[in-house]
Amino acid sequence: MKQYTDLEYLKLSKGQRLLYRIAGFFCSIPKKIGGLFVALWNLIKTAGSAIGKEVSDIWSTFVNGDWKTRLSFLVMGFGNLARGQILRGLLFLLFEIVFIAYMILAGGYWLSMLPSLGKVGPTEEYNIIFDTYVTTYNDNSFKILLYGVLTIFFIIAFIYTWRVNVKQNQMAEKILATGKKLKSGKDDLRSLVDDQFHKTLLSLPLTGILIFTVLPIVFMVLVAFTNYDGTHDGYYNNLFTWVGLDNFNTMLNWQSAGGGQSYAATFGEVLSWTLMWAFFATFTNYFLGMFVAMAINKKGIKLKKVWRTVLVLTIAIPQFISLLYVSKMFAKNGIINGFLMNMGWIQQALPFWEDPTWARITVILINIWIGIPYLMLITTGILMNIPQDLYESARIDGANAWQQYTKITLPYMLFVTGPYLLTSFTGNMNNFNVIYLLTGGAPTNPDASSAAGAVGYTDLLITWLFKITTGAESQYYLASVVGILVFVVVALISLVVYNVLPSIKNEEDFQ
């Protein structure tokens, strides 16, 4: 593609500049992929050299250290204890004891079972006394996978702690050599509310995120490579096991398995509707919300507070009430159809939820009803921040309202809310509540009946995922594949937009 110089670039109009940047981004993809490999290679090289440095550092600590340091390699915290840092030493020692005990009692078993995810499923045996078949439950694939991952986390934590332990000995030796005193346990405790206060503050939130977000995500990503579903629940009926990339093959296969369309076609349909929905939901709300905000803010309009309060009601009332109720209002025997028929404007009920196109348009319209108030609130604040003298000078130059809007308001808004638009786009892609409570994905798509989860025309990827897991067969592995693909799509969009956006604001700018 043609490269413009800076001067030529400045001559382009706004739209052309955007197109130029987008084209530039796509043209630079091959270069970026090449760059990615280079970066990857560099990463491996730096990681390798870092590990090498660590190892040589540990070795030299061992060779040059005194006997306390050397013993600490085996008994963690010994050096600390011997040098009078009782608190640290005890903590290290305790951690090591707990780790070893865990590995012997449980961790070793989970780890050894991880490659197979369990060998013996539930067995039935005839019991003579009760004259029935008694089921014995044996291995539990679910627990093996879960605790296997946990054990790996634990081992990584142990290696890290061991390294810290070695480093502390090295530092303690250095400090003592200069004749200074080591920190006592009391100093350590005090630093937790002072120099190291961030560690105290972060410990609780990060533990929560680690256990309830990181661990489940790692687990679910791994599930995509197993056959975990309702009939292979890993304990009560059948074990599940690793299947490699089979599930991705199923999801992205263009060949249909026995009647109906293929999974890839279904996935493509749902994905394209998801993107369409996210686009319309984001931009209709954005522009209409801005418009309403400007209407309310206009000079000379009275009762500003009343208008705002009326709109804000939709935020205040829990969504499940308003959305469920509105969804019933548009039903065949609902109030809207009843009203239109009573007025004699229509003869038959309008198929708001029965016809694919009607349903899609209706959800977008109702989403406007839900979304405008948020945008009204957000844009009101920003609109007030636009310097008024800009408008004044524009008016003196004779700009009409439309010109003022396109030349001043819109560029300013787009600049300030650019990142918000991106998050709102990806948020809408995963907008479960609006779709599920309004339509539940209906009307069902008959072409996609071969795919799991009874896909409908208004189903987003996220509602499809939910339906897969709650269906009769609960194909968790497919849900997991969909989840991973959602992640890939969201990450790709974010990456592209961040590369094209004119200003990626430095967070320090606001401080």
């Binding site: 489940p216 309310i296 829990p318 004779g398």
Partner: protein, 296 residues
């Protein structure tokens, strides 16, 4: 644009007249628009209120004004599990509000104020984690909570745990707020010998009332609207449901003709306190939402 300027300047008097007329016209147009918008926005809520007093039958009808008025629907609510759902939701909302606020504030304050080695990688990691659909994790969390005995009838502690544990990821809005408090305040106090903890307690917290209230408000409102997690954790056990799941089930195809008006009554009972609370604290909500959007 230059021709425009000339034209307008050459006819100043007429332009002035035209402006006044056009302003009056545009204001009328805007008023009409705002009135229409208000009507559209209020219709569902008026309808739900009216239908909750309708007693001639319980199924869905095509008219709004009840033919027979009464409180039957409200009375009958108390013969179902509705009070239990209400209590479940209320308790989990209350405890979530407290714990989530603590966690979110810890997280956002730290990321805004401290500069440590893992800060940037941590924020990047959370951005990436946020791109995974959270719903996916529900499958495993349900089974883990089930092993811990925190599902079905005992769903409340399980729900609170799920709401609170990952709430540190939603630090963006309050971090944006803390970013706007000048750092020189901290530094001055540090020079005077205050510890980091004292800086937080004595200087930052008193200044942070708006964001604390915003965080409490959003944390409190979350559980009232939560549907997915609550449904998973209750797993069909009526006593363990929250209002959203319970009322949703009333609108199932085979239930709706029996429970439609009761759904409306239940909806009103849920919406009224939450709405009043929200309206009282609206100012703080608006501040938080606006700040959050600008900072991205």
């Amino acid at each position: 644009m230059s021709t425009n300027t000339l034209q307008n300047d050459s006819r100043p008097a007429r332009r002035h007249m035209g402006l006044r007329v056009s302003r009056a016209l545009s204001n009328t147009a805007i008023y009409t628009l705002l009135i229409i918008i208000s009507i559209i926005w209020l219709i569902p809520f008026v309808c739900i209120l009216l239908q909750s007093f309708r007693v001639e039958n319980t199924h869905q009808v095509g008219y709004v004004i009840p033919q027979k008025w009464g409180l039957d629907n409200y009375v009958r609510l108390f013969q179902t599990d509705f009070p239990r759902w209400y209590l479940n939701t209320f308790i989990s909302a209350l405890i979530t509000a407290v714990l989530q606020t603590i966690i979110v504030l810890c997280m956002s304050y730290t990321l805004s104020r401290f500069r440590f080695k893992m800060r940037k990688p941590l924020m990047r990691l959370m951005l990436i984690l946020g791109m995974f659909p959270g719903m996916l994790t529900m499958i495993i969390l349900y089974r883990v909570l089930k092993d811990l005995g925190m599902t079905q009838e005992n769903s409340v502690p399980g729900l609170i745990l799920v709401y609170v544990a990952s709430s540190g990821m939603g630090y963006y809005v309050s971090k944006g707020f803390f970013d706007t408090i000048p750092k020189s305040l901290d530094e001055a106090a540090r020079v005077d010998g205050a510890t980091r903890f004292q800086v937080l307690k004595k200087i930052i917290l008193p200044l942070s009332k708006p964001i604390v209230i915003y965080t409490i408000l959003t944390a409190f409102m979350g559980p009232w609207g939560d549907f997915v997690f609550a449904r998973y954790i209750a797993f069909g056990t009526s006593k363990g449901m929250n209002v959203a799941v319970g009322l949703y089930n009333w609108l199932n195809k085979d239930q709706i003709s029996k429970f439609y008006t009761m759904f409306c009554a239940g909806g009103v009972l849920v919406a009224v306190p939450v709405t009043i609370l929200f309206m009282c604290l609206q100012k703080y909500y608006v501040e938080g939402v606006t700040g959050g959007a600008v900072k991205g």
